[in-house]
């Protein structure tokens, strides 16, 4: 049969109800983002060293030499690959006494810091679909970043107890009147960087205290009171927060305050909070090192044992301090997505890239190793945004090696060169 059931490997929703026609190379039922992933596009043709095409073995030999000769390499990325590859990546980082960091560092890692402080009252997307009668998107815009999330879990999904859009109230708190905001019942427009005080005001109002001002962060006291009442009176509420909260002033403290708000709400009703994770396995890029060495990101192995400190060992801190002398970038594109102050150092040091597609990091990489696309050309395990593990499939054959195979060979070569 030409049409096969597949699992999408674009965003953190990891849709497991999509199909792919292997003969026509055609995605079916996907959103625009998933369709782009499962469509034909330019690939890195072959492994390369300084722009010259070489064999996989030669590229891996060169990559191993760079890593072994470096005093402190940075191994960064990991959000768009499978857990099996990430596991090898953590072992490799330990072997070369490098720094392990992953895409959440510039995405949802502030939430990880908040969870360390406060914990997280969460739920699976299934539970939310079945039960939530109040859905709040706070600084998140699923209509553009997770297009099928509203349909499958949060807005119009048909759940066990909540039968559809009419049974749910949807609120959007955002700086912009986004596409998601236009579909909401209530839109609360806040000023950039005012998430923290708005959350604090809601905490006060929910406790029954008065606030001594007419507006907070651009939101009128009246609207804040309405929102507080809505939250208190919900049977089962959820806040899905996005980068509007983690990348703005306050960062981790915003999430910490939001978790405290949820803890308070649970004295009155059932309420949960969950991050809208971006890449399909960015959860794995944190969970795998967490079960391997105890930490999710910003992990330094230079002393031979793992140390966690985002102020020192996150990719942007390391690069801006010029505290790494080589980098391996896998399944990510820091040259496009890091501030220019960090990119400057990446341009100066030897860079190894492992990725299926050419991107801006390819332009600065000395060694480029093309890889197979998980979910299409390689199989492996990924964690959906709520931590549910899903086995993504291989449905077409390829000459490209999987990240897992590349890292396995690279690890062998590193061990050999180090004479262990």
């Amino acid at each position: 049969m030409a049409t096969k059931k597949v699992i999408c490997t674009f965003c953190g929703s990891v849709c497991d109800d999509v199909e792919f026609d292997v003969e026509e190379f055609k995605p079916k039922k996907f959103c625009k983002l998933g369709r782009s992933k499962f469509s034909k596009k330019e690939r890195i043709k072959a492994p390369m060293i300084d722009g010259k095409e070489v064999s996989y073995e030669e590229a891996i030999q060169k990559a191993a030499e760079i890593l072994v000769n470096a005093k402190k390499p940075l191994l960064y990325g990991w959000a768009s690959t499978a857990n099996e590859a990430i596991r090898l990546g953590v072992i490799l980082t330990e072997k070369v006494r490098g720094v392990y960091d992953q895409c959440a560092s510039v995405c949802h890692a502030p939430g990880t810091l908040a969870v360390i402080e406060e914990g997280i009252p969460g739920a699976s997307l299934g539970a939310i679909k079945n039960r939530a009668d109040l859905v709040i998107f706070w600084g998140s815009n699923p209509m553009e970043a997770h297009p099928r999330h509203p349909l499958r879990y949060s807005m119009s999904a048909k759940g066990l107890l909540i039968k559809g859009r009419n049974d749910r109230k949807v609120v959007v708190v955002d700086v912009r009147k986004t596409k998601t905001a236009k579909k909401a019942d209530v839109f609360v427009q806040i000023k950039p960087g005012y998430d923290y005080p708005v959350i604090s005001a809601l905490r006060a109002l929910i406790k029954g205290e008065d606030i001594d001002v007419d507006e907070v962060g651009g939101v009128s006291k009246e609207q804040l009171k309405e929102l507080a009442e809505m939250m208190k009176n919900a049977k089962y509420g959820v806040i899905f927060y996005g980068l509007g909260v983690t990348q703005s002033r306050g960062r981790d403290r915003n999430i910490e305050n939001a978790v405290k708000l949820i803890q308070l709400l649970n004295r009155y009703t059932r309420f949960v909070i969950w991050p809208m994770r971006g890449h399909y396995n960015v959860v794995g890029s944190g969970e795998v090192p967490a079960w391997e060495v105890g930490y999710q990101y910003a992990i330094d192995f230079s002393r031979g044992y793992p140390r966690f400190s985002p102020a020192e060992f996150s990719a942007n801190e390391v690069l801006q301090r010029e505290d790494c002398d080589a980098a391996l970038v896998i399944a990510a594109d820091p040259v496009a997505h890091f501030p220019k102050e960090s990119v400057k150092h990446l341009k100066k040091i030897p860079v190894i890239q492992i990725d299926p597609f050419p991107n801006m990091t390819t332009l600065v990489a000395n060694v480029v190793i093309p890889s197979a696309v998980y979910g299409l050309e390689a199989e492996g395990t990924a964690y959906r945004m709520d931590g549910i593990p899903l086995r993504v499939k291989k449905v077409i054959d390829t000459e490209y090696w999987s990240d897992e195979k590349i890292l396995e060979e690279l690890l062998k070569k590193v061990v050999e060169l180090r004479g262990e």
Binding site: F10, K32, A181, G244, T246, S248, A311, N359
Partner: protein, 127 residues
């Protein structure tokens, strides 16, 4: 009243087109998906902008030339640039010890310019 410069707060973020072209960064489609700055209609008119016009966005941390677009999603005084290499020329790189640069809520000035919008490759050269 038309002014030559306005003050705004810039935020960057995901768009559907940016996401759909994120694995094709060296194509024209990606270039088009990330090389613009959206402004509220009032701000857009204050600068006397028309379709195809370019603006220079300047912050304490850098400057970048991008195309200007009108948006009905933004309040006055807030500008939006899709996440990517253009936005990253002007965002605040410091992480306040969290590891996270400040990608959203950066004070900026915006002015109309005749300078050209650099390609993705040219942008990388000037960093």
């Amino acid at each position: 009243m038309v002014k030559s410069m306005i003050e705004v707060e810039v935020i960057s973020g995901r768009t559907l087109d940016q996401g759909a072209t994120v694995e094709e960064k060296l194509t024209d489609e990606y270039f088009k998906a990330v090389n613009y700055c959206e402004l509220n209609e009032e701000d857009y008119n204050t600068l006397g902008l028309a379709e195809g016009d370019r603006v220079k966005v300047k912050t304490e941390f850098g400057e970048v030339v991008v195309f200007a677009k009108k948006s009905d999603e933004l309040p006055k005084g807030v500008a939006f640039i899709p996440m990517g290499p253009y936005a990253n020329q002007i965002i605040d790189p410091s992480t306040d010890s969290t590891g996270m640069p400040q990608y959203k809520g950066i004070k900026a000035t915006i002015e109309k310019t005749d300078e050209k919008v650099l390609s993705v490759k040219e942008l990388l050269e000037v960093i």
